[in-house]
Amino acid sequence: MKAFAQLFLSLDETNKTNEKVKVLKDYFNCVPDTDKMHMLALFTGRKSKRQINSTQFRLWAIEALKIPSWLFEESYHVVGDLAETIALLFPQNNTGGSSKTLTEWIAEINNLSTYGDEEKRHWLQQSWQLLDTQERFVFNKILTGSFRVGVSQSLVVKAIADIADLDAAVLTHRIMGNWRPEDYTFRELIQPQQEAEDISRPYPFFLAYPIQETSTVQKSVEDLQQTLGEASEWQAEWKWDGIRAQLIKRDGQLFIWSRGEDLSTDRFPELHPFMNELPDGTVLDGEILSFRQGKPLPFNVLQARIGRKNLSKKILEESPVALIAYDCLEYEGKDIREKTQTERRELLEHLQAKTAYPDVFNISTLIDFDSWESLSRKRQQSREMIAEGIMLKRKSATYQVGRKRGDWWKWKIDPLSVDAVMIYAQKGHGRRADLYTDYTFAVWDGDKLVPFAKAYSGLTDAEINKVDAFVKRNTLEKFGPVRTVKPELVFEIGFEGINKSTRHKSGVALRFPRILRWRHDKPKEEADTIETLKAFLE
């Protein structure tokens, strides 16, 4: 645990990629193999079952700390991270911390499932007393399962690839899917040839880069020509707004993986009949969407279904899903990612042509265009198509690993936008802890301001500091962590879509709202009205 805590600290202490890889390698070189696999599981977001819920966690911390619960909550708002708050609140001890390894700690944690609440409480409070501040922090992170670190998976993979002298893409593939650190050994992970491949294992997703970095600067036809070359070298498809997924049929078994590497096979029973029909050794990449009569429905219809634990008959009727396939990654049991886009597309078309379920197994249509200019015009139809924009794929491209520039680009349509007034503010988390960075925005309904969206992102650090100062000096009321601020600052709020909502005061719910810019030029009276917002509903 000491080494793991130190790893965390060292990673925090450098902003340089090479340094981080070095720190990771140093860690891998000094800990037992089982620790390596546990670290890998944690750093790649593999959560084990949460043994102590958040309420118990807070309650038992407050009890052990002997402080009032309001002070605990205030501390949390200052720190912005529960694990760190508890780590800091305990007195600094001189016990020298714990000598147990990460593996031993995780075994103890997993063993908690056999404990009653009283034993859990005792174990937790004792562990807090024993660990030093930094260990306590990573320990809490493991227990609360919110293990976001400032290190991308690709850096961890690079460090192991260097140590084991393996190709990073091979390693990335080997850590995909459904493994547990308890039964996947480091030796298995790094051997030159893996004997028994896990049949459920997905391939790493290939992700597109945005061709247009910001929505304020438009890409012209000339820019496209310059960046991408001849239009004839590219294929274009609509960019669908659903759940990106990989569908696997191997040895008669079905696996559906979402991009977040969640195994979601059971969540999409409608897809099983056509998948059963696929030949063994087939892997498809595509988008799962809610569909009705051959047309995609807006994302919120699908969203209503994602949240449900049980798929009732009603839900299945209201929000039936189908696949729009983009790509074929495995054909007749062979990894075909090295084939070109065009070749893979042919195989995909071949598979789809034979399906008895063409309503469910759709294929992403290719957009017909002969120049960047004509494609640029087609892009304007995205919203009618219920698409987010256009995907561009180089015809000669292989299927690569992760987000890469060059062969796949996404060209989204501009977000919808309104000018809105900030009315509430709350402190942020992580890097934004103790700063007012989370805002609620409102538009005019007659002479009243109605809140309609919350947004966190879009401002620069310098702007955040200014808004933070404004909030602190213009607070009208405090409700717990939320401050009502003097309505004065106007921002342009961008969003991807809008839907009717009975849950929100404004009667609408926005998809992916964010701040596009601070409208210093606009007084609050000139912010938009609820009518403007509702006009987008059509």
């Binding site: 925090d12 202490e13 450098t14 902003n15 700390l65 402080i67 009032p68 309001w70 002070l71 205030e74 501390s75 200052v78 720190v79 912005g80 991270d81 760190e84 708050t85 800091l88 609140l89 007195p91 600094q92 400032g150 988390h429 992580g430 890097r431 934004r432 802890a433 103790d434 700063l435 650090d461 310098a462 500091n465 200014k466 933070d468 100062a469 602190k472 000096r473």
Partner: protein, 384 residues
């Protein structure tokens, strides 16, 4: 009949109507008692200043030709029948708590203070009183300082490591207080200490005041870069990210501040190393200091005043929150044009830079937004 309180909070600062003097006023007054030389406590423009002997040269350096009277700790002077005595606050060299006594009623104004002895300034001394006016910059229980020896061991090791890795070492801390505290604890076996002009000016003022500091070398345009890279560089926050600092790259830079206790604050600074080193009392320090005064009432002037006041009341103190212009959490990002102007002639301010560097309360608590601007001005004029 309740009589008028001995000290009151006015829009100019803390005022003693009986004695007709102010303590750390932020608007020009006739008679000012100054707890310490940081610019959110020592403003320009008063007719008469009273401070501790060891604040003399720094105040003159910062405020120019002022009418200044200095006294020792424990020495009492009388203004209109009110007795004023200074006691060590342990914050920076020359920092004092001000005890005010009239007809048996005792008030103490803490200014800024810390309870850990830092080996550089006279350690904090609790003073019995009826009314205690205290700061609470770090008045949240998540702030608990490690003993400074542990931090300086880490710092000296880090310097050694940088030397091995061929990196220059830059330590960032405020020019009055933090800089001297760091300097006195550096292991000069590693190499020489090079100082930014702003810090060296303060060091020189302190040396004129009879303070013995470890040897330092001021960085000038003629100082060979390679020599500097073999030593350690002491720089003020305004130097972070400046062309002046980049010149010594590749370097590792360490930021010394109490705010470094939080990962979020540390990540915002993007420092290579954050040293949790503060000249303010931590949570336990504040409570023990307040408790030791035996006061009937404690007034919290700046920091996490609301929560800290509530907590003190819950555990049996009689605490009140008061509003002042000292570096409060609430005012941390106040823009310079809102504050009174006390920049010495020829020292320009640079708002953008200051806002970038000063985004958390301690910065103001220790130097104040104007102090930051001043440091910057000096950085331009005084250094290279």
């Amino acid at each position: 009949m309740p009589r008028k309180p001995l000290l009151e909070f006015t829009d100019r600062g803390i005022y003693c109507p009986q004695g007709k003097f102010y303590i750390d006023p932020w608007k020009p007054v006739d008679d000012a008692v100054i707890t310490h030389a940081h610019s959110d406590h020592a403003y320009l423009g008063h007719k008469h200043y009273l401070a501790h002997h060891l604040s003399r040269e720094v105040l003159k350096y910062r405020l120019g030709d002022i009418q200044l009277q200095t006294i020792a700790y424990g020495e009492t002077i009388n203004k209109n029948g009110v007795e004023i005595t200074l006691f060590p606050a342990g914050h920076v060299i020359g920092s004092a708590q001000v005890r005010v006594v009239y007809q048996g009623e005792v008030w103490v104004v803490s200014g800024d203070y810390k309870t850990e002895a830092d080996g550089v300034c006279e350690p904090f001394e609790p003073v019995k009183c009826h009314h205690f006016i205290s700061e609470c910059t770090f008045g949240m229980p998540v702030y608990q300082w490690k003993p400074q020896q542990q931090l300086f061991d880490e710092m000296n090791n880090w310097w050694r490591q940088n030397l091995e890795n061929n990196l220059a070492t830059v330590v960032v801390g405020y020019s009055l207080g933090k800089a001297q505290r760091i300097l006195q604890n550096l292991d000069l076996f590693n190499g020489k200490v090079y100082t930014h002009g702003v810090i060296e000016n303060t060091n020189e003022a302190l040396r004129r005041n009879g303070i013995e500091l470890q040897p330092t070398t001021r960085i000038t345009p003629d100082t060979p870069k390679e020599e500097v890279r073999k030593g350690i560089i002491l720089a003020p926050p305004s130097a972070v990210g400046s062309a002046w600092m980049r010149k010594f790259g590749p370097y590792s830079f360490g930021y010394c501040s109490g705010w470094m206790a939080l990962r979020g604050a540390k990540r915002r600074r993007a420092a290579d190393r954050g040293f949790v080193l503060s000249d303010h009392a931590d949570w336990n320090g504040l409570i023990s200091a307040i408790d030791a005064t035996g006061c009937e009432c404690v007034y919290l002037t700046h920091g996490y005043t609301a929560s800290f006041t509530r907590y003190l009341n819950e555990i049996g103190f009689n605490a009140r929150e008061v509003h002042t212009l000292y570096g409060t959490e609430e005012e941390e990002a106040a823009s310079p044009q809102d504050s009174p102007t006390n920049l010495p002639k020829g020292e320009a301010s640079n708002e953008g830079e200051v806002n970038k560097v000063l985004s958390a309360g301690e910065d103001l608590g220790e130097v104040g937004i104007l102090g930051g601007a001043k440091d910057l001005g000096e950085a331009k004029g005084g250094a290279i």
